[in-house]
Amino acid sequence: MPKIEMRVNGKPISVETEAETLLVHFLRDRLGLTGTHVGCDTGQCGACTVHLNGEAVKSCTMFAVQAHGAEITTIEGLAKNGKLHPMQEAFREHHALQCGFCTPGMIMAAVDIVRRKPNADEKTIRQELEGNICRCTGYHNIVKAIASAAAGMGARS
């Protein structure tokens, strides 16, 4: 069994795993990071989105071994020192979640959207969310949350 070394939410890990283990299952089952969800089997819902070296990836579309040597951030690692990330705050503030199942993937994708397109307007945000499905919110408040977090995150930098 190949041994994988990576940093997950800032902590170094070194674990043996089967070559065919998907990154999402590795995170959930081996590391107990169950905040990353599985919503589909075709790479289309985005519930499994995490950051790989700072960029959003769907962790169901790659093997754990492909992340060897990488820096991974999951939803559990987004808040720093007990302080929520502005995107987490914005989701709560704008009621951008209901059942919460899509939420970790949404937030991880949203952070990446704002990083790439800090001035995204509503239309752009909607297009950028193409890869994430939410069945509860109708996206209305998710779009609002991302726009407001973008404003806040921009102001900070």
Binding site: R28, G35, C45, E93, Q98, C102, P104, E130, R135, G138
Partner: protein, 783 residues
């Protein structure tokens, strides 16, 4: 006086765990030594099973057991049930075939459950499921609603012509007379497309058995764990009720699909004893498509009789409803009592007659999906009203006004008695917000850009707050639909509220706490809502049909009243004043005429200490229970207006504006209510433009079995919504609430399709209005 918490957009208490990834959904939970289940599913729509050979699977490493319907039978496990008896118009009871959790001799749809493989790992179970050899004798199948009764295919021996029931409601003669006297008759053929619910969390189950105590535990994705326990013990006979615990932890959306008692969950809890270890199963999305209960799937002919001024004289509806291959838990009620009873809409209609034939087909079972019957009814009534307006050349708002009910209570000809509403108010507000007066100009501007604009109305009504138990009992329900609550005050004054309602996105932990904190005058952080565990909450009917606030919260409100009454009693003793002199306000018990006061927390402590009152007259402690049975249904109503722009070159329909004005009665948390409206509208627009569960006519295969083929609404398919509210407080429950969970899904499809048919200038056009269909309709016009 502290500001009331009612009506405030309090941020949700439950959010923190969800935004930090620390929620606990069923699949997040694991048990030591757990095994994994994978189901062998039928690849055929209809086939006899000649033989199941498990040996090749059992020979694989990691495979522990392969179980079939025969094993369930050997353990005396009974089939799944449909809990609502419907009688046909000739008086005969509905014709229900058996519904074994694992097939017995025959499979009836693609995805039907043939066997289960239990193994050490999910991968081993999957390999095992592929290795099981099933010898099928294929049979011809029928999947389409319209063909079911004329087909030579016989799906259940018990149901000739695949007909479950032929039911009717209303006055046939009076309706006939109304049509005879009509100045104008409007008719439409309507298809209500099959939908696949797609809660984002797939169904999952974790079954456990403790051989020492004989207790089974099922942790599962359920909207109503108590009902699951009741059905699994009383009917399926897995275990007596007191030996079966059902837990629904965080649940990732339901929309109806997680109400029902399914084969997979049943098998997991049963198999835990057989295997002697916990058994876990989580659906892959492909399995959700195949085997979650689907929604809608009606074929309807509707006719409206009107006088020359556009006043409705009568409505006649003939519907065929597809119930799939087996009768799911509440399936029989959906196209009958949840559908035809709503056909009066917001209108004074003197005579209505509805006939509904329910049919078996070789498809996934169909049951309640967000709205459940009410979207289908609204679609019929509102498409007909719009068509009537066009035929009579009346403004669509005006024809509705001419027919609105304005006096309450109002007895409709189809059972329901509306208690209150103000349909003019919501229509007026919606017309304003949608800027209907500017539409002609916008249409002209669009035409200059070679685009087609259309405007569509939908003034809907729904019956929520399910439901007065005696009323539903007389209509065939197998259960009462009251709700229970327990308000448990701790000695320190903090409060646990145990509720039979279940939250899977609705925000009960916040809304319910808001009400209790408001009543008791304590901080919302002092209130914890406990739900979803049959060991903690005594009983409950769960959450569906927008019933949690109207029924569940009413029970909490009554239990809270009892807590206050007892606390007052105790406070009087402690302060040594007559009870009549004690006033409770803003969290304080004050003895009028004196300056004596006690906080709620102080009285709670006194109640548990028990030193200062006669415990032979007042029992120590502070905990009260209420079982609340609603007096009536509640009747949320409103007006949704959709404006579309169609690109004739591509057939793409853009929703340029969607306006919703709803009357949900008293609103406890407007932020949460608006969120519910948004989500409902998105599902309604999804039905109108994108979603369609399709089976291949020949093979019976599900053609829309993944997100590649089933088009889910995504962020860029939808606009932001214009949402407003008007309020008439509901007189039928102590809080004045009506329920808000389904409005969007009920109202939106008709609004969208009325807008599209307006833009296209066509009469009949079926959902979903995909670009291809729209383009073809337009090219037909061009040709």
């Amino acid at each position: 006086m502290t500001a009331s918490l009612i009506g405030r957009p309090v941020k949700r208490k439950e959010d923190r765990r969800f935004i930090t990834g620390t929620g606990h959904y069923t699949d997040d939970l694991s048990r030591p030594h757990q095994t994994h289940a994978v189901f062998v599913r039928s690849p055929h729509a209809h086939a006899k099973i000649r033989k199941i050979d498990a040996a090749p699977a059992l020979a694989l490493p990691g495979v522990i057991q392969v179980l079939t319907g025969e094993d369930l039978k050997a353990d005396n496990v009974q089939g799944l049930i449909c809990g609502w008896m419907i009688h046909s118009k000739d008086g005969s009871p509905m014709k229900a075939g058996g519904h074994p959790a694992l097939a017995l001799g025959k499979v009836r749809y693609v995805g039907d459950h043939v066997a289960v493989v239990i193994a050490e790992t999910p991968a081993a179970a999957k390999d095992g499921a592929e290795a099981v050899v099933v010898d099928y004798e294929e049979l011809p199948s029928v999947t389409s609603t319209g063909d079911a009764q004329s087909s030579s295919v016989q799906i259940h021996d018990e149901a000739p012509r695949n007909t479950v029931y032929q039911w009717a409601l209303g006055d046939e003669k009076a309706t006939g007379a109304a049509f005879a006297n009509a100045a104008q008759v409007v008719e439409l053929n309507l298809v209500n497309n099959r939908l696949i619910p797609n809660a984002m969390e797939p169904r999952a189950a974790l079954g456990e058995y403790d051989s020492g105590s004989g207790i089974y535990t099922l942790t599962t994705t359920s909207q109503n764990p108590h009902v699951a326990r009741l059905v699994l013990s009383a009917f399926v006979q897995i275990a007596p009720e007191h030996k079966l615990r059902v837990i629904a932890p965080d649940v990732g959306g339901g929309f109806g699909s997680k109400i029902f008692i399914y084969p997979e969950e049943t098998v997991c809890v049963w198999a835990a004893k057989r295997v002697g270890r916990p058994v876990k199963w989580t659906a892959e999305r492909g399995e959700s498509f195949l085997a979650d209960a689907h929604g809608r799937d009606h074929v309807t002919h509707g006719a409206l009789a009107l006088d020359k001024d556009g006043r409705v004289l009568g409505l006649r509806v003939k519907t065929t409803a597809n119930l799939g291959a087996y009768l799911s838990t509440f399936s029989s009620a959906v196209p009958t009592y949840l559908y035809a009873t709503l056909l009066s809409g917001q209108y004074n209609i003197p005579a209505i007659y509805a006939e509904v034939d329910a049919v078996y087909t070789n498809t996934a079972p169909v049951d309640a999906y967000r709205g459940a019957g009410r979207p289908e009814a609204t679609y019929v009534v509102e498409r007909l009203m719009e068509e009537a307006a066009r035929k009579l050349k009346l403004d669509p708002a005006e024809i509705r006004r001419r027919n609105f009910i304005r006096e309450f209570p109002h007895q409709t000809p189809v059972i329901l008695a509306y208690d209150i509403g103000d349909y003019d108010a919501s229509l007026k507000e919606a017309v304003k917000r949608a800027d209907v007066s500017g539409f002609a100009q916008r249409k002209a501007d669009a035409a200059k850009r070679d685009k087609k604009r259309g405007l569509g109305f939908s003034t809907y009504i729904e019956a929520c707050g399910l439901a007065p138990s005696a009323a539903v009992g007389s209509l065939g329900a197998g259960v009462g639909l009251w709700e229970s609550a327990e308000v448990r005050v701790n000695p320190t004054g903090s409060v646990e509220v145990l509720t039979g309602s279940h939250s899977h996105g609705q925000g009960h932990e916040t809304t319910f706490a808001q009400l209790v904190a408001d009543r008791l005058g304590i901080s919302i952080d002092q209130v914890e809502i406990v739900h979803g565990d049959t060991d903690k909450v005594q009983f409950g009917m769960g959450t569906y049909g927008s019933r949690s606030a109207a029924v569940g919260l009413s029970a909490i409100s009554l239990a809270t009243d009892k807590v206050i009454a007892k606390a007052k009693h105790i406070a009087a003793y402690v302060m040594e004043v007559p009870e009549d002199d004690v006033e409770f306000k803003d969290g304080e018990f004050a003895a009028v005429k004196t300056n004596k006061k006690m906080t709620f927390g102080e009285v709670a402590l006194a109640a548990y200490v028990g030193h200062k009152f006669p415990t032979d007259q007042i029992e120590p402690g502070l905990k009260e229970t209420s079982f609340y049975d609603p007096k009536n249904f509640t009747f949320p109503a409103g007006c949704h207006i959709c404006e579309v722009e169609i690109d004739p070159d591509t057939g793409v329909v853009e929703i340029v504006k969607f306006t919703a004005v709803d009357d949900f009665g008293t609103v406890i948390n407007p932020m949460i209510v608006e969120g519910q409206v948004h989500g409902g509208i998105a599902q309604g627009i999804g039905q109108a433009l994108l979603e369609h569960g399709v089976y291949d006519k020949e093979s019976g295969q599900l053609l829309t079995g993944s997100y590649m083929d089933y088009c889910m609404p995504r962020a860029d398919d939808l606009p932001s919504f214009e949402v407003g509210m008007t309020i008439t407080a509901c007189p039928s429950n102590p809080i004045g609430v009506k329920g808000c969970g389904e409005a969007g899904a009920i109202a939106a499809p008709a609004a969208v399709m009325n807008a599209i048919t307006d833009a296209l200038g066509v009469k009949e056009f079926d959902m979903p209005a995909t670009p291809e269909k729209v383009w073809r309709a337009l090219s037909g016009q061009r040709a």
